[in-house]
């Protein structure tokens, strides 16, 4: 499964949801499909996208929050999974694109390439709903189920280690940040 195809498969749902992504390929690919004011791209601070999503989900329980995370980022903040599980925001779906590598810095393999199972770690951290998807159909199914369940869910989507040709996009970080804040202020 290609991450870009997985993003396309859920894009129509993301269109009017609060979305927080990590840096690198996820941010660039989602922007290539179409940026919206309700999408925030955390272009650094690896590991904290899920914490930002938690901060939004806890303070805006009326909104569905989708965090688009990655294996390298989750591995930098494994403790954050325990915090997510502890507060169990029912309005947060945590998607982890696992390409088993740090793609944007040259493709160095992460620990998921040697057997670390992030869905199992999330489950052991206390996240009650977890899934691993290896195909586009599995991913779409797991995502739809997570939304229907109205409960915190971590979905690990195993994706190919391929990404966009470049990571810097036209959208400035601060423009994105202030527009996203304004979006949250009016919804």
């Amino acid at each position: 499964m290609k991450r870009l195809d997985a993003l396309r498969a859920i894009y129509s749902f993301l269109e009017d949801r609060v979305v927080v992504t990590i840096m690198g390929a996820v941010a660039a690919e989602l922007q290539s499909i179409g940026h919206r004011a309700n999408f925030f791209y955390l272009q650094h601070a690896m590991g904290l996208a899920s914490s930002m999503g938690l901060g939004i989900a806890l303070t805006r329980p009326d909104r569905q929050v989708i965090v688009l995370d990655g294996d390298g980022s989750v591995l930098m903040n494994l403790g954050g999974l325990t915090t997510l599980a502890r507060y169990r925001p029912r309005n947060l779906v945590h998607v982890v694109f696992d390409n088993e590598s740090l793609l944007s810095v040259g493709g160095f393999p992460t620990a998921t390439s040697t057997g670390t199972d992030l869905a199992a770690i999330a489950a052991a951290a206390g996240v009650r709903r977890t899934a691993t998807a290896r195909t586009l159909d599995e991913f779409r199914g797991a995502f739809d189920e997570a939304i229907a369940a109205r409960d915190l869910t971590t979905i690990v989507a195993k994706v190919d280690a391929v990404g966009p040709s470049k990571y810097v996009t036209e959208l400035s970080l601060l423009e994105n940040r202030f527009a996203f804040q304004r979006y949250l202020a009016i919804i």
Binding site: V20, F40, L42, Q43, H44, A45, M46, G47, L48, A49, S50, S51, M52, G53, L54, G55, I56, A57, L58, T59, R60, N77, G79, G80, T82, T83, R86, Y87, L173, L174, R177, F180, Q181, L184, A185
Partner: protein, 173 residues
């Protein structure tokens, strides 16, 4: 009874409430026990107990963008552990971040393990260009917390208040 001052903890907590803080993220340590308990018992406060302090930077950033005022409670070693998040999330994205940092390892510290962190805390805050002040006397607690938040919001940047032994600890020495 813990020699951590309940009265002064209450002063700090009430000052945070007066600043409309509705979310506190915290990693408990000795000096923060009363503050964490007060947040836990307050139905108006969302208390997020962290596994590691850096998470709190992301949580506060999310809360801020969602329109909710928050603060972080941590030890200075937790500040040390949060530095990448402070720089790469809060400073890069211009997030006002109110950090209450218990200042362990300063004069009067008996725990040998706190002393190295105490010795570098202020230099690190200066190196990161984080405006900071001290909470060391009950008379200025409310004013300094309000002013710190005002600056954080005006500058869209992190600010720190160092919770000092003279305020937090009731035993002499």
């Amino acid at each position: 009874m813990s020699p951590v001052s309940t009265i002064h903890s209450r002063l700090i907590y009430d000052a945070l409430k007066a600043c409309h803080i509705r979310l506190l993220s915290a990693l408990p340590e000795t000096w923060l026990v009363h503050l964490v308990r007060m947040a836990d018992e307050d139905p108006e406060m969302t208390l997020v107990r962290l596994a590691k302090e850096e998470e709190g930077v992301g949580i506060s950033a999310g809360a801020h963008l969602a329109g909710v005022k928050s603060a972080m409670l941590m030890q200075n070693h937790g500040f040390l552990a949060s530095i990448n998040g402070i720089v790469s999330c809060a400073q890069l994205y211009r997030i006002p971040l109110l950090m209450l940092v218990s200042y362990r390892g300063e004069f009067g510290e008996r725990d040998p393990w706190q002393t190295e962190g105490g010795a570098v805390t202020e230099d690190l805050l200066r190196a990161l260009r984080i405006p900071f002040s001290y909470l060391d006397h009950p008379d200025h607690v409310a004013r300094r917390i309000a002013k710190a938040q005002t600056l954080a919001l005006a500058a869209n940047k992190p600010v720190a208040l160092l919770l000092c032994r003279d305020l937090m600890w009731e035993e002499g020495g």
